[in-house]
Symmetry: C2
Subunit: 354 residues, 2 copies
């Protein structure tokens, strides 16, 4: 797979978004978000999605110039209407408005409705951690999972993330979907025409399937059975019910519904470490915890114990030096949009030669 | 199993706690908490634990008259020191101090250090929901689970709970340990001298085991592998690192360490629904969500789709009418303490006859 410098990818994504009417500053944020996912080794939420975002803008299903509106403000809580704008842009703007409230009151929470698929939670998590803040983040999403015992898609793969600053050069970052597997992996398998492992999904009749297309028409299973169902419910209630966004099966599908908006809902809760604890002492405790975990006795065949967030930080470091891998499919999509929007970009020239 | 009226059980537990030096009001709260777990069908966290709490008070490992101290107050955040008091009493007191802050600022968060095993999260969850508040609650606990790839007990089974008020007569209540199974189930199997299913635990050498005693000496597995590990980490960081409590393997064991305190840490985050949304409209959205989930198409062999919290609410309703089941082992322990503390209580007289 060809690798490209981060700056080159950010630049091309931003130019293409601009070309579709996204204001320059917003396009820069959007591009940063997408490329950040690839940088951290999550290409399913990165530049590979640019094509569908642009298509949806083109179809009038995303408002490229949307303003972020505060619908309700009460103490340390902000409830936002994203105006059907790009999720990454609106959520990052919301986070920026939430940060001063968290610093002032120690904790602050926000809901965002009328938004889109807003990419990898990890981007928001890393951003907060870099500012000595703890972030808890959730989002609902297009219907993918049924409640336990059912087989109609209701919940999204409803991810939950939390990030904590450390003194180790990377934040501890919890970032997981409440499904057995992220839907992105099934989309990736479908794109490659590959089967998916058993235990990932049910087909439209509620029977187990290994066919990626059938799985995307059917339902993805929740992780850990009832427990994953309960967590998906929690995410849906915080992000969907409490935000005023679409709930469950009413959330629009990014890929399937090319006739209506998604109306995704997000939830953020920010904590200022210093409201709870002396920051230096917190860092000492955090780093010692990481050291102890990494020093755990290892099961047979295990080389190293990693803490959550460590692997993706390492991947980012490698990709920053060696360039970010971009799949041939994504490259072809980028070239297609460049030619359509008359954006000059010489991919052969910027490709990394490690 | 004999069943007893709720009031009778609350009364006897409170009297025994009083007999061990717990002030009357605190003893009443403590008894309510324990019996509430049995009422909701979670006997592993209920009256069956009274024996070990009283033993630990007797051994000077729990301070029965502890005061709850606010160590840090910043905006909408309170950091508490439980003074090594009973977890249930101190956590409920902390929650009562947090509620006005949540009403004032829309969101409020608290950490509690220097505490004990504080029972079922469900008690706090139901309490908050009854007051139109959303609660997110976590606690660390005595070492039980290893990080992914390891086999030394580090994390507790680190549960996470969240509750949401509804118009359905019961709150939606997410309440799960991040382990494959709650440690209480393994303790229960050990008490009954029964094997545990495969996939629950590793022994001291990191090998799979079905022996409950070996499992309690070894490690319980995290739910959903790496995802459960990540969530256990999140719970540990909020409840342990951020609170100033013991972290991971340093948390004392309730049953094994009869020579030192536990120093458990808890974390609460409270949200006032009305800061986010009109309450009536919220209820309408919530109830509609529940109705839709329950109306899902059912997999073969499934009679009814339940939402999280529904089953335990039903169990509580049955137990309130028919009496709360108490195991012969727990009954024997209660009778033993009654005789030691010269508390008169005629179990034969109060037993329910359905």
């Amino acid at each position: 797979m060809n690798r490209y410098p981060k700056e080159a990818l950010v630049s091309i994504v931003a130019q293409l978004a601009c070309g579709m009417g996204v204001p320059q500053e917003d396009a820069a944020l959007f591009a940063e978000a997408l490329v950040d996912a690839d940088l951290h080794g999550v290409p399913t939420h990165g530049v590979s999605r640019l094509n569908i975002y642009l298509k949806r803008i083109e179809a009038g299903l995303i408002e490229p110039k949307a303003e972020l509106a505060i619908e309700r403000r009460a103490g340390s809580v902000l409830a936002f209407d994203a105006g059907n704008g790009l999720g990454q842009v609106q959520a990052r703007r919301a986070l920026d408005l939430l940060i001063p409230l968290a610093r002032q009151n120690g904790v602050a929470a926000a809901t965002i409705r009328n938004s889109q698929h807003f990419g990898a939670l990890s981007w928001y998590a890393n951003y907060a951690a870099a500012q000595k803040l703890v972030l808890l983040a959730m989002t609902n999403g297009e219907p993918a999972m049924s409640p336990a015992g059912g087989y109609e898609a209701f919940f999204g793969t409803n991810p939950i993330a939390a990030s904590f600053p450390t003194g180790k050069g990377f934040p501890v970052k919890i970032d997981l979907s409440t499904s057995v597997v992220a839907r992105g992996n099934i989309i990736a398998a479908q794109k490659k025409n590959e089967p998916i492992p058993e235990g990932w999904a049910l087909d439209r009749e509620g029977k187990p399937t290994t066919d990626a297309t059938e799985a995307l028409l059917g339902t993805v299973l929740t992780m850990a059975g009832h427990k994953g169902y309960a967590l998906a419910m929690m995410v849906e209630l915080f992000s969907g019910v409490l935000s005023g966004a679409a709930i469950g099966a009413e959330v629009g599908s990014m890929y399937k519904n090319l006739d209506r908006k998604q109306d995704v809902g997000h939830f953020f809760c920010l904590f200022d470490v210093q409201a709870f604890f002396d920051y230096g002492e917190y860092l000492r405790r955090m780093d010692e915890t990481i050291d102890r975990i990494k020093a755990s006795k290892k099961r047979a065949g295990v080389d190293e114990i990693l803490v959550p967030g460590e692997r993706s930080a390492r991947t980012a470091a490698v990709n920053l030096t060696e360039g970010i891998p971009v799949s041939p499919e994504t490259l072809a999509e980028l070239e297609g949009w460049c030619s359509r929007l008359q954006v000059a970009f010489n991919f052969r020239e910027v490709v990394c030669r490690p």
